[in-house]
């Protein structure tokens, strides 16, 4: 069976978004992110796991019937599953396609991994993590200066 045939196993949507090229195994964590967004409470969501992909070997995919994707969800996707493709669908056609890249800054998306960081003692304080250098997967807490990986930050997501 070709990948195209497999994708068709998830019904096409008339309007909404496809989150494609999710690394296989990350589909459920991405679903969890969607579940935490009250703005998407009425959206119909379809999850597909472990599809064959010529580019990735295996991949997960999610389709959402919603008018818009919350900005915070997109930011969290960049943390949890960078590299995913967001396709906007109208009249069953892809009208826009964006690849989510790892940004240089994460603002108030995650808690610091350092338990002795002041941002963990005073949770109302907005956290900020800066990428060490372009292309790096290492980020530095601007407060306590602890360096951590993207995966560690993804394990410390805020609400």
């Amino acid at each position: 069976m070709t990948p195209q045939n497999q994708i068709l196993l998830i019904p096409k949507i008339e309007r909404g978004f496809v989150i494609d090229h999710i690394v296989a195994g990350l589909g459920i964590p991405v679903m969890a992110l969607i579940g935490r967004r009250p703005e998407l409470g009425d959206a119909v969501v379809t999850l597909g796991l472990n599809y064959k992909s010529t580019r990735m070997g295996r991949k997960d995919m999610i389709k959402l019937q919603a008018d818009a994707l919350p900005e915070r969800l997109l930011q969290m996707l960049a943390l949890v599953s960078p590299g995913v493709t967001i396709k906007r669908i109208a009249n069953f056609e892809v009208v826009e396609k964006v690849v989510i890249q790892v940004p240089e800054l994460f603002d108030n998306l995650a808690r610091c991994i350092n338990p002795n960081c002041i941002t963990n003692a005073e949770p109302h304080v907005a956290t900020r993590f800066k990428r060490l250098e372009s292309g790096s997967k290492h980020f530095k807490c601007v407060h306590c200066e602890r360096v951590c990986t993207l995966d560690e930050l993804a394990d410390h997501l805020k609400a």
């Binding site: 002795n116 005073e122 304080v125």
Partner: protein, 307 residues
């Protein structure tokens, strides 16, 4: 835009050299002139954990500039004991002072204070993270003793794993030209790998050793540190290494005549008192330099430059 001093990593070499030059200028001024620089200005020293030396050094610096000092010396004496957040303490104290020096057991507090306060913040130590005024006074001391920092041969001795003083000093020394560092520590207290790796692409070098007498030969500076009991999760591990490096006058007999011994203080057993009387002892002058460097920093952050 207001200035703060939070992390040595925020400073370029030019800024560090500017601070060293300003400290030199301040030191050369007559005391009476210095005392006329900051009349009516108030420094708040907010010490959420005790550090007598650093606090008194800041307070002496401000008093000798003609300013005044308010503050507290431990969290038990502040509203923190009543449950006030750090953020609220800063928001309140900035109404009372022109500049704030803050020391706190949690990392990141000085940066947070700088984000909140409209007045300049000086980091007087945030947990295990940064202590930039110590680094700057160390650099000032090196330049005073040797006329330069470039090319010095420096043995760093003791707790190289946990000492934030050593970590910050290493990062600063990497900015200078051709500094050769010999790292003398027990196996369990080696300098973290990310710091030795940071030498790549610089003209600095690191060499590890566990032989203190050997490291002293050919060195310009021996920088001793205290092995900090409070950093060890298991006191048995501390007992194993606590007295592993003890410098005494006899050990220095074969040293270069110009060698200086530095220490951020307080010392416990790592420098024998008989070193104090030798020309190698530089640590009390280093403490004096702390006042001068902090004067320079307070002046700079308040936008006051001596004529």
């Amino acid at each position: 835009m207001k200035k703060d001093l939070i992390s040595i990593d925020d400073l370029a070499l030019e800024q560090i050299l500017d601070y060293l030059d300003l400290a030199t200028q301040v030191e050369a001024m007559p005391e009476a002139e210095k005392a006329a620089l900051l009349p009516g200005k108030i420094l708040a020293t907010l010490f959420f954990e005790p550090s007598t030396r650093t606090r008194l050094s800041f307070e002496s610096a401000m008093c000798r500039l003609g300013g005044r000092v308010i503050g507290f010396s431990e969290a038990a004496n502040s509203s923190t004991a009543k449950g006030e957040s750090f953020s609220d303490t800063i928001r309140t104290v900035e109404q009372y002072a022109d500049v704030i020096a803050v020391r706190h057991p949690k990392e990141g507090t000085a940066r947070l204070a700088s984000e909140i306060a409209g007045v300049p913040i000086l980091n007087a130590g945030d947990g295990a993270n940064q202590h930039p005024t110590q680094t700057l006074l160390d650099l000032y001391t090196l330049r005073k003793f040797f006329g330069k920092v470039d090319g010095l041969k420096i043995a760093l001795v003791g707790d190289l794993k946990y000492s934030r003083t050593i970590h910050s000093l290493c990062r600063a020394l990497l900015m200078f030209d051709g500094v050769a560092m010999t790292l003398v520590s027990p196996e369990s207290l080696r300098l973290p790998g990310y710091l030795t790796k940071a030498a790549a692409g610089t003209t600095a070098t690191f060499r590890e050793s566990d032989d203190l007498p050997g490291a002293i030969r050919g060195c310009d500076v021996v920088y001793m540190t205290r092995i900090q009991k409070e950093r060890f999760p298991d006191v048995v591990d501390y007992e194993k290494v606590k007295d592993c490096y003890r410098l005494d006058a006899q050990m220095l007999a074969a040293a270069s005549p110009h060698l200086k011994v530095l220490h951020p203080l307080p010392r416990v057993n790592e420098i024998s008192p008989d070193v104090d009387a030798t020309p190698h002892a530089g640590y009390f002058e280093q403490a004096r330099n702390g006042v001068i460097m902090r004067q320079a920093l307070i002046l700079d952050l308040l936008g006051v430059r001596p004529q």
